[in-house]
């Protein structure tokens, strides 16, 4: 079994990690780098719970070979807060009641963050589209959409 060396930027910090061949990015993030906010819930890239941001784009990490991350910039939920202060999206999710069981929350926040970084004032339809790859079984999506709206209308 061979190992490979990955170098990439994780949550703003350069890291180097040796990983087993055959691993997915989600496993490396969770097991080797401690980013347990990345959830594995379907193994097929359908539910979006493993969503991370790679070079500005939301991607599913459970079906992404870890080697793909080499020389990229990856953001997980752990990297969203800055200097101990929550991102406006995180605050909005908590305040709007967009978090019930919380399992979809990391993936949702990543998709939302990727959206607002490229589209600062999305329509409701664009918001629904941006999270259309993130399954939620608890909230009915209603408050998640509202939270994202709240985050950018409020500014910050």
């Amino acid at each position: 079994m061979s190992r490979e060396r990955l170098e990439f930027c994780l949550n703003g910090r350069p890291i180097v990690v040796d990983v087993d061949a055959g691993e997915m990015l989600a496993d490396v993030l969770r097991d080797d780098l401690g980013m347990v906010s990345v959830k594995k819930a379907c193994g097929e890239g359908v539910c979006g719970a493993c969503t991370v941001i790679m070079d500005g784009w939301a991607v599913v990490s459970c079906i992404m070979p870890a080697g793909r991350a080499h020389n990229t910039s990856v953001t997980t939920l752990e990297g969203l807060a800055r200097n101990g202060e929550l991102d406006r999206l995180q605050a909005a999710f908590a305040e709007e009641g967009a978090v019930q069981c919380g399992y979809c929350t990391p993936g949702m926040l990543m998709s939302a963050k990727a959206l607002l970084d490229s589209n600062p004032c999305p329509s409701r339809e664009e918001i629904r589209l941006a999270i259309s790859g993130n399954l939620c079984r608890c909230t009915g999506y209603q408050r998640i959409v509202r939270a994202i709206e709240r985050a950018f209308t409020r500014g910050g």
Binding site: A41, G43, G97, C101, C104, R137, G140, Y141, R143, I144
Partner: protein
């Protein structure tokens, strides 16, 4: 009464922060060094005998530490409802932990392995050799019911005389409804970790709906109950699917055998195969009514497909039987409900527990009746709704005012102006459904919940409760209640939960019972402490305690709302005078009778119901059969909303789960073989499939929970699917009788016959979808 100072405010939940910053840990986020990895060997057949089992090759594999089969571990779990501190003795049947002689469904657990790595565990599974003899299985409940040995439970009741009722009726309609198998599809997969600690206690960390399983685990292992600890984590969704004792037993057994920590986590496919399902139902409804809309007779036959083992099925059948009539006064009623064995997957608890199924049939039948009578569906319902003082057909009296008309009207109104169809080939329709959904356990189960509350010497508060939090804000509501009663900011309330050794037992989180039961327990405990505080404060201030209140960290005089002294100082003074500021309370539900008592039904088999309605506006594409839900409104009497954002969240989530039930979800079984055990193929709605949802809360204060609260988790779901199906009927004239109303099914119904309207003589031409 003074307005509440923190109760009833939509404050962010205390658990939201760790969920948005990623610091929260679910069961699968823990790992310990040197832990073993477990796998479950599952039956590939729906019905087969196990002729021989050879595990020698698997056991011989280096790195495999345990291989356990049904032959070596023959324990069978009794089908009881755990979580009741008083054993009820209601043991209907047993189910093996590991199948020994035969398997009864695809995916049934047959053996367990534990190995150094997941790969080795997989390899060990492949080395287990089983000689099978496949046998014919039964997959159709209608076929199963012909053999009385397959009948697990049967409930029936009647009032009046249905035959004479039908004879006198102006109109009689009859329909048969069919509901599919559903999966909970919660996002967090089953996952747990077990280890033996320095006290020799076997600890199991797992996301579960009930820590009371420690008893089942202990009995299975043959160890004292005090030697097992279930340490529950925050659950990533459950909806009834994490209430059975499965992983707990596997993990404890393997940890016990290997003396090493053991981890087990399911894949999504395995979760689909292994987890219990919502009961598929076949429901025959025959309704007789007068021209003026009064229902005079109702005959109902319910057949619930229990799947391979009894587990919860008798109770599910009972719930559906009791709610089968809907919230209506009908003088002549006959209901029969049967739960039957098949070789389909085990049917168990899923949000609503038989009530959504009965509500679907009942409310679609109401609309069919309205169509036959040429009457507005809401008007028809209003003619028949129960009112305070009326009796259900079970003879239970409705003791409070069920706001059926108000919730239905408000839900309808909130749909607003009727949307115009967006194209020539589209039709828009609106539908309504009312529901009565019980909250809290069956009355005779003597339900109870304990909670411990302690105020620290600096005025902050610690709550200990065994309550499992499955995402509905269960633990947060307890914090908000304590904060209200003790006048303490929620930020100063810490709650420790879900630990069978360390927290008082609160019963399971199911049956929409926790706000009711644990809320009342915390209320009792907090009030006892409040009394001590007010007595002390009264001494310190020279003011009558009746004039004092606790608000926002201060003792205030309630007429003036002047802060008079900090609660912190009163707490410190209590401590100095050795006045205890902690209290263990147990809330016990008064239980009038036992199930076997014929009077039980009349005395009230449920403590209470949540009443409400759901309204939907849909657009149907006549060319393709696609249905879009344009507007969805749930209006329910929730009694009192401890946290309105949490309550609304349940209603909104229920609206989408109900939409999935109505339009897209079905766990497809082909002679017992699952065909869509994946998220790609099992059609749970995503964000583009849903529109905006309106949640309307009515707070009558009539609930039996704290501050008059009622349960809402399951009530949020009951009426959604029938409201959508009724809206389809309004749009197209087609009565959909079986779910899901997929595009193909609806299209076939639209184009199958020339007309699908109910004829004047009352015979419905409704087609089975």
């Amino acid at each position: 009464m003074a307005e509440h100072w923190i109760l009833g405010k939509p404050i962010p939940r205390h658990d939201a922060w760790s969920k948005v910053d990623g610091s929260i840990r679910y069961a699968g986020d823990y790992a310990v060094p040197e832990m073993l990895h477990a796998r479950v060997f599952r039956s590939p057949f729906p019905s087969a005998r196990i002729l021989s089992v050879d595990t020698s090759a698997a056991e011989g594999l280096v790195g495999v530490h345990a291989v356990i089969t049904g032959r070596t571990f023959p324990y069978r779990i009794p089908s009881d409802i755990p979580g009741q501190s008083a054993g009820t003795g209601q043991t209907w049947a047993t189910a093996p932990v590991l199948a020994a002689e035969r398997v009864n469904f695809v995916g049934e657990a047959v053996a367990l392995v534990a190995a150094d790595t997941p790969e080795l565990a997989d390899a060990a599974l492949n080395l287990i050799h089983i000689e099978w003899q496949e046998e014919p299985g039964i997959f159709d409940p209608l076929q199963a019911i012909r053999d009385s040995n397959n009948i697990i439970a049967h409930y029936g009741y009647h009032t009046g005389d249905v035959d004479s009722g039908f004879a006198e009726a102006d109109l009689v309609i009859e329909n048969t409804f069919r509901l599919p198998c559903l999966d909970h599809a919660c996002l967090e997969l089953e996952d747990g970790l077990a280890w033996i600690d320095e006290h020799g206690v076997i600890n199991v960390r797992i996301g579960t709906q009930g820590v009371e399983h420690f008893r089942t685990v202990a009995d299975a292992l043959g160890v004292p109950h005090a030697n097992i600890r279930i340490a529950g984590t925050m659950v990533g969704g459950a909806f009834g699917g994490k209430g059975d004792a499965t992983l707990e037993i596997y993990l404890a057994l393997l940890a016990s055998r290997t003396r090493r920590p053991v981890h087990l986590g399911y894949s999504r496919e395995e979760s689909f195969l292994a987890r219990c399902k919502r009961h598929p139902y076949i429901m025959r409804y025959k309704t007789g009514a007068q021209r003026d809309g009064r229902m005079v007779a109702l005959e109902v036959e319910l057949i619930a497909d229990a799947g391979a083992y009894a587990t919860m099925s008798p109770y599910v059948a009972l719930y559906s039987a009791i709610t089968a009539t809907g919230p209506y006064v009908i003088p002549n009623v006959k209901v029969n409900a049967v739960a039957v064995h098949t070789n389909n997957p085990i049917s168990g608890a899923m949000r609503g527990f038989g009530v959504p199924q009965a509500c679907f049939a009942c409310e679609c039948q109401m609309d069919a009746l309205a169509a036959a009578l040429g009457m507005d569906p809401l008007v028809l319902r209003e003619i028949n709704y129960v009112r305070k003082g009326d009796r259900l057909a079970t003879r239970q009296t409705i003791e409070t005012e069920p706001l059926l008309s108000e919730t239905a009207r408000r839900a309808c109104e909130a749909l607003g102006k009727r949307t115009e169809p967006s194209a020539r080939n589209k039709r828009v329709g609106r539908g309504i459904a009312s529901h009565m959904t019980p909250y809290g356990r069956l009355a005779f189960l003597h339900d109870r919940s304990s909670a411990h509350v302690r105020m620290e010497t600096d005025g902050s508060v610690v709550i200990r409760s065994g309550i499992p939090d499955i995402g509905g804000g269960q633990s947060d509501s307890l914090c908000q209640i304590a904060a209200e009663v003790l006048g303490v900011s929620p930020r100063c309330v810490t709650i420790l939960t879900t630990d069978s050794l360390m927290t008082p037992l609160a019963g399971m989180t199911r049956g929409s019972r926790q706000v009711f039961m644990s809320g009342n327990a915390v209320l009792m405990a907090a009030r006892a402490i409040r009394e001590s505080l007010l007595t002390k404060a009264s001494e310190m201030l020279g003011v009558d305690p009746g004039q004092l209140d606790l608000v926002a960290g201060q003792v205030v005089q309630n007429t003036e709302a002047w802060p008079m002294i900090e609660i912190q100082r009163v707490a410190a003074a209590c401590a100095a005078s050795h006045i205890p500021l902690d209290h263990l309370a147990e809330y016990v539900v008064p239980s009038p009778a036992d199930l076997e008592d014929p009077a039980a039904f009349a005395l009230g088999i449920f403590q209470d119901f949540t009443f409400g309605a759901h309204a939907a506006e849909v657009e149907v594409d006549l060319d393709t059969g696609e249905v879009r839900v344009l507007k969805s409104v749930g209006c329910h009497d929730v009694g009192k909303a401890i946290n309105p954002a949490s309550v609304a969240g349940q209603i909104e989530g229920g609206a989408v789960m109900g939409q999935g039930y109505a339009l897209s979800e079905e766990y497809i079984l082909d002679h017992g073989y699952p065909r869509n055990a994946s998220f790609q193929e099992y059609m749970v709605p995503f964000s583009l499939d849903c529109g905006d949802i309106t949640a309307l809360l009515i707070e009558s204060g009539q609930g039996k929970g704290p501050f008059g609260a009622k349960g809402v988790g399951e009530p949020a779901l009951s009426a959604v699917a029938p409201a959508i199906i009724n809206a389809i009927r309004d749009a197209t004239g087609v009565h959909v009788l079986s779910l899901p109303a997929t595009p193909a099914r609806l299209w076939n119904a639209l184009h199958g016959l020339d007309q699908s309207r109910t004829r004047a003589n009352g015979t419905s031409l409704s087609m089975e979808g």
